[in-house]
Amino acid sequence: MTNRTRTLQVDYLTRVEGETSLTLRLEGDKATDVRLSIFEPPRFFEALLRGRSYLEAPDITSRICGICPAAYLMSACLAVEDALGVQVDGPLRVLRRILYCGEWIESHALHVFLLHAPDFLGYPDALSMAKRHGEWVQRGLRIKKAGNTLMSILGGRSIHPINVRVGGFYRAPSRAELEAHLPELRWGRAATAEALEWMAGFPFPAFERAYEFVSLRHPSEYPLLGGRIVSSEGLDIPVHGWDAHFEETQVPYSNALHARRVGRGAYLCGPLARFNLNFDRLAPEVQEAARRAGLSVPCRNPFRALLVRLVEVLHAFTEAIQLIERYEEPAAPYVDTPARAGMGSGATEAPRGLLYHRYTLDPDGAIREARIVPPTSQNQLSIEDDLRTLAPELASRSHAEATRLAEQAIRNHDPCISCATHFLTLKVERA
C-alpha cells in the first residue's frame, strides 16, 4: 500500500434526490476529508410559514417533497394539533396510517428498484438494469403505483395530496373505494415477498458500523405516526423532548444542517433504525420473511438497508390490507380544531427517517415560529462517517470502482437532498 494522496470527486451525485456532490480525500488508506456538499438551493420553508394560518401548515410543508408529501402533512398535522390540544383517533387515525403506508410503498419501491438495485447488480443505471431484468423493474414500478394509488384515494391525488387537513380529512373515502384497491394490494404484498427473496441473494459488502439508531416507538404499532423517540443507547423521550436532546449546526460547505445528539454526536434514523428498534412490532409473517432474507436484529450493515426497505414495504402492504379490511367510515371527516395560542411538536417516520416539526401559534392561529427537521440532515454526519470508515476499502480499489462504491454507500441512506436544504440567518457576534 502506498501512502499517496488521492481525491474522489463526484460533482453531481446521480440516483439520489436533489443536487449534491462528494469530495473524499484519501491519504494512504485513511480519509482525511469527507464532504457531502448539499448545494441544492435553500428553500426557506420555515420563513415562508411565519404569519400564515395554522391550517395552512400541512399544505405548505407537503410541497417540500414530491416523494414523501404524506410525511410532511402528517408531522405538520400532529404538531399543530399538539399546539391546539386536539387528539385525532379512531377511523381518522386509521386513514392517516393507510395514507402513510401508501407513501412508504411508493417511496421505498422507487428507491429499491430504480435507484439502488443497479448498484448491487453492477449496472450504471436503471435503464441498463432493465435490459436484463426488465420484469423486476416492471414489478417494482407496479408496486410503486399501488402505493401511489393508495395515496390518491386518501389524498385526492398521488403527489402533493390535497385532501388532508388539520384534524383529519376534507372527505373520508368510502369503504367501497378502499376495498376496490385490495386485489392490487394483495398482489403487491406477494410481489414484494418475491422481490425480497431475490434481493436477499445480492452481494452485500461486509461492512458494519456501531450507529446510535434513533426512531419513534409506539406501544403497539410499527412506528409511523407519533409515539416516543427512542435510541439504541437508551434514549426514551416524548416527541417534544427533541429540542433538548438534539441540536443542529451549520457547516460551511453544505446547505443542509448537521444534526447531533447533544453530548454524543452522530446518529442514524431511517429504515435500519426503525427495524432494529421495532422488530417486535412488525407483523409476525413479515418478521418471518425478514429472517428468511437473512436479516436479524441488530443489523448494522447499511448496505442491507435495501432489504430492510423491502421488509417495510411488505409490512406496509400487510398493514394497509388489515386496516382496510377493518375500516369503518368515520361519522365526520375531521374533528374541529379552533385556534388558540400554543406551542406543539409532532414527529412521524418518513420513509427516510424521523421527521420533526414544531410550531408556535398566536391566539388567532397565525404561525409565529416553525421548525422542520428532515431525516436527511439528521443522517448527514452518519453518511460522512460511513465513507470515513470505508476508506481502507476505497483505497484498495481503482478510482472508478472506489467512486462507485462511495456513491452506493451514500445511496444506502436514500438521502433526499431537496428535503434537507436549509438556511440559517448568519449570526454576527460583536465583541
Binding site: 446521480t14 440516483r15 439520489v16 434526490e17 436533489g18 443536487e19 441544492e40 438551493p41 435553500p42 428553500r43 426557506f44 415562508l48 410541497r63 414530491g66 416523494i67 422507487l110 430504480l114 435507484l115 443505471d125 436503471a126 435503464l127 432493465a130 435490459k131 426488465g134 423493474v137 416492471q138 414500478l141 410503486k144 403505483k145 401511489n148 398521488s158 403527489i159 402533493h160 437532498i417 431537496s418
Partner: protein, 160 residues
Amino acid sequence: MSGRTRVIGLGQAAAGDDQVGLAVIEHLRERGAPDGVELLTAAEPSALLPLLETPAPVVLVDAVLAAPPGEVLVLEPEELEQRGLSTMSTHGLGVAQAVALARVLSPAAVSPSIRIIGVSISPPGRFQQGLSPDVAAAVPRAAEHILRTLTHWSQEPRHA
C-alpha cells in the same frame, strides 16, 4: 390511431422555474385544449412511465437547464443527452432516461411519437415562489409550439 394525444407537463410546484411545465399545461387548460388532446401533469419522471403507454403521440413539456433562460426548444428525447441538456429532475431519473426506460420495458405499448418541448431556465440559486419573468414570458410561446406540433401531427397520414 386510437387514444387521445397526450400533452404532459413535468415539474414540481413551489420549486421556482422548475414548475414551468405545469404552467404551460395550465395555460393550455385556460385557453382550451384542442379536441382529442389530453392534458396531464407528472411531478417526477417515474410517474411518467405509465403515461407514455399510448398508441397516440405524446408531447412532454419540461424545464431544461440551458442559457439564456426563456428559450423554447423543440427536441426529440435522444437529443437531450446528445446536446448535453439536462432536464430539472431531482429524482435520480431524468426525462430522457424515463422515455428510454419505457421503450425498453414495454416497446410495443409506448407511443411511437414522443417530442419534448423544453423551456430553458437558469440553475436555481435561491427560493422563488413563482416563475421568473423571462421564463413566465416563454409560457405562451411554448404553448404555441405545442399547438403547432399537434396540428402538424394531425396532418401527417401516419397519425391520422
